[in-house]
């Protein structure tokens, strides 16, 4: 999947500021950050207490939200797979869709 960000952190002499880390933190946590910027962000989070705590809070929120993922009923999936399979049925049974 195409990354959203251009690599900007690596060009900053002396390392990024907390503000600059905050700008990319969410993308970093979502795995959407340019690969070359990841080590820089990780190093800052390990070294900076406030930014590290910020990251941990957001990670905990993400984990909590992910736990709320709607469970998919196996019967529903089966029906949908069956429906999809019928669209491509090549056994001579009439398709439900006009071609």
């Amino acid at each position: 999947m195409k990354k959203i960000h251009r690599s900007v952190l690596s060009r900053i002499q002396g390392g990024p500021s907390c503000k600059e880390i905050a700008d990319v933190l969410q993308s970093f946590l979502d795995g959407e950050l340019e690969k070359s910027d990841i080590p820089t962000v990780k190093a800052h989070l390990d070294a900076c207490r406030d930014c590290g705590l910020e990251a941990e809070t957001y990670e905990a929120v993400k984990a909590s939200l992910a736990a709320h993922r709607v469970s998919v009923d196996a019967h529903v999936l089966h029906r949908l797979r069956d429906f999809g399979a019928k669209l491509t049925d090549r056994s001579g049974v009439a398709s439900t869709v006009d071609g």
């Binding site: 999947m1 700008d23 070294a47 992910a66 993922r69 469970s71 529903v76 999936l77 869709v97």
Partner: protein, 223 residues
């Protein structure tokens, strides 16, 4: 001289619908649940999407099937909403049922209580969010979509997805802080420690030349 283009994945597939569409059914259903707030409507929406995808499969180049399908689903949902008047009622069961987590056995009681309180607070904060923020968070954090995929299904620029996602999460975090359930406060006894607790490299000056803002300001201005 004309450069030969790489063969599209669909050209090498005998059954592109089965190969590219059917594996995405579970993701499609989860997204449909977020869009419709109703299990029956979600199933109908997925079927609608499958029909449209089947009709259009010959025009699909085989690249990024999920993004392609989610765009189709968005259009299908727009058509469904237009046909149904008035606006669909939201599923009142938005808070979702909690399933007992047997994996918490072995954790001490205090951890379980704190974890439960944290989760319930996050859930309450999520429900309280404006619809546009909540939808993006559902798509990315709960349905596992990438930014571009969420943008495709919602029908907004990816910068808008990022803006809404970040602002929605920030509101949840602020809610947690206001409730006293937080991991942010430095020096708090419950605050977790990083591997290197001494922020020797911490930046407190902040005076650097501005860099390109990750979330487009244009997208934020439209919110």
């Amino acid at each position: 001289m004309v450069e030969s283009r790489p063969e599209a994945p669909t050209r090498s597939s005998e059954d592109p619908f089965s190969d590219f569409v059917l594996p995405e059914l579970e993701v499609m259903y989860r997204v449909a649940r977020s869009l419709t707030r109703n299990p029956t409507d979600a199933e109908d929406l997925v079927q609608d999407t499958l029909i449209r995808a089947y009709k259009a499969i010959d025009r699909f180049d085989g690249r990024y099937p999920r993004a392609w399908l989610l765009t189709i689903m968005r259009n299908a949902q727009l058509n469904r909403v237009r046909r149904k008047r008035p606006e669909l009622m939201r599923d009142p069961d938005l808070t979702m049922k909690r399933v007992a987590d047997t994996s918490e056995e072995g954790r001490n009681v205090e951890d379980q209580v704190l974890g439960s309180v944290f989760d319930e607070r996050v859930e309450s904060a999520l429900v309280a969010l404006p619809e546009k923020f909540r939808t993006v968070i559902e798509m990315v954090d709960m349905n596992g979509l990438a930014y571009q995929e969420a943008a495709d299904v919602i029908g907004v620029p990816v910068g808008t997805v990022m803006s809404r996602l970040h602002r929605g999460r920030k509101r949840i975090r602020e809610d947690l802080e206001a409730s006293g359930i937080t991991r942010r406060s430095p020096g708090s006894p419950s605050a977790p420690r990083r591997q290197n607790p001494d922020p020797a490299g911490g930046d407190t000056t902040g005076d650097r030349s501005p860099v390109t803002v990750v979330v487009s300001e244009e997208a934020e201005a439209k919110e």
